[in-house]
């Protein structure tokens, strides 16, 4: 029962957050109208603070998610252009594994000294592997990596991750928002690992993780990902390989309380905004 409830809460969480972000945006528009109409003649300082809070939080959220969207769009375009210009024929071991997994035509290879495999692209995701990956891994390990990436590709994970991160960026002042986006990323990683283990076996997947971790790291890529999060993600992936079940992720009580406090404050400010709208010409609400 508990499990069902948790699952229902998990499924309802994101649509609810999207609706909440939409409502917050609408309240921010109302706040702008109130500023424009009432100027600084708000009834009390409390009214002024409430309207300012709604507007400031919406602007902060828009700025954060706008910056993230621009980064993702720019990166996506550059990566696509780079792959188009630097595409190489798939190395023979990769070509065989790709054909076996039904990924022909959706996988590219480029030259890079770091061994990596990524899924990218929002509308039509593709898999990109470096030729060093083919050199470093044997065919069964390549199958584990590509089965993992195929799961990301089939579920359009780049798009899901971006949507979750955009929503989390909109609520950047809520301590729970970042945790929720991280939880989506980890759940997708765990799902892809289950697909890889089903295809290649748990032992092969464990060996692949071990082998890739021993290769020299690219400092630029390492710097882009907070070390703590990457280590926690790997810990959860290893725990799933050991137990067969994904580990539970808990949000710290402090973060829940702080987020609930912020949301209550915002809800109160929003209610005040709606109340003030009576003073607008014609009464908006």
């Amino acid at each position: 029962m508990n499990r069902l409830l948790r699952r229902a809460a998990g499924a309802a969480c994101w649509p609810l957050l999207a609706v909440a972000a939409g409502a917050h945006g609408a309240l921010a528009v109302l706040a702008v109208a109130e500023y424009a109409t009432l100027g600084w003649l708000f009834g009390t300082r409390f009214d002024l603070a409430a309207v300012t809070l709604v507007l400031a939080s919406a602007l902060a959220g828009l700025a954060a998610s706008g910056a993230l969207a621009a980064q993702a769009a720019g990166g996506s375009r550059k990566l696509r252009r780079l792959v188009e210009s630097g595409r190489r024929p798939l190395p023979p071991p990769v070509r065989d594994v790709v054909a076996g997994l039904g990924l022909t035509g959706r996988t590219d290879a480029i030259h890079a000294s770091e061994a990596f495999a990524v899924t990218y692209g929002l509308a039509r995701p593709r898999i990109l592997v470096s030729d060093s990956l083919a050199a470093a891994l044997d065919p069964s390990e390549l199958a584990a990596v590509l089965a993992h990436e195929r799961c990301h590709l089939r579920h359009r994970d780049p798009l899901r991750l971006l949507a979750a991160r955009l929503l989390a960026a909109y609520g950047c002042y809520l301590p729970a928002a970042r945790w929720l986006a991280g939880r989506v990323a980890l759940r997708r990683e765990l799902a892809a690992d289950r697909a890889a283990a089903a295809r290649a076996g748990r032992g092969v997947l464990a060996g692949t993780l071990l082998k890739l971790a021993a290769l020299p790291a690219c400092p630029a890529i390492a710097a882009a990902n907070p070390a703590g999060e990457a280590a926690a993600s790997l810990e959860a992936r290893v725990a799933q390989l050991e137990n067969g079940n994904p580990p539970r992720q808990r949000l710290a009580r402090g973060r829940i309380l702080a987020s609930a406090g912020c949301l209550t404050l915002l809800a109160a400010a929003g209610a005040c905004c709606v109340g003030l709208s009576q003073a607008l010409p014609g009464g908006v609400l």
Binding site: Q71, A72, G74, G75, S76, K78, L79, L82, G86, I110, H111, A112, S113, F116, A117, V118, T119, Y120, L122, V145, H148, E149, H152, D157, P158, L159, L161, L162, R165, R188, G201, R202, G203, V204, A206, G207, L209, L210, L212, A213, A214, A217, C218, P219, A220, I221, A222, A223, A224, N225, A227, E229, A230, A231, S233, L234, E235, V238, L241, E242
Partner: protein, 106 residues
């Protein structure tokens, strides 16, 4: 970058400046080369390591195409990319658990 790629071994700033100035009519100042190389090291295009009392520099990438790949993946960050594995230092405990898994499911 051409000088460092050509040499194939770590080089100090002074040696890079000397190699660059060998074919230039107006020589580059040592500080100019130092500034450029420090910036490249900050952007992770060059790796800097201590050698005696000074530093030597090694190119991280093998060619310009690879620099571009790294730049894009770095800039992309984790915004809309699903990577097989983040670059992370494995602690000995995790390493041992992965080895055990390999043995168990061999």
């Amino acid at each position: 970058m051409g000088v460092l790629w050509g040499s194939g071994r770590p080089m100090p700033v002074r040696a890079v400046a000397a190699a660059l100035n060998a074919s230039r009519r107006a020589p580059l100042a040592y500080t100019t080369v130092l500034t450029v190389m420090s910036r490249l090291a900050r952007k992770n295009i060059l790796a800097r390591s201590r050698a005696g009392r000074g530093f030597v520099y090694t190119p991280v990438s093998a060619d310009t195409a690879e620099i571009a790949v790294r730049g894009v993946l770095d800039e992309f960050g984790d915004a809309a990319l699903a990577r097989f594995m983040e670059r992370v230092e494995l602690d000995p405990g995790l390493r041992a658990r992965l080895r055990q898994l390999m043995e168990k499911h061999r």
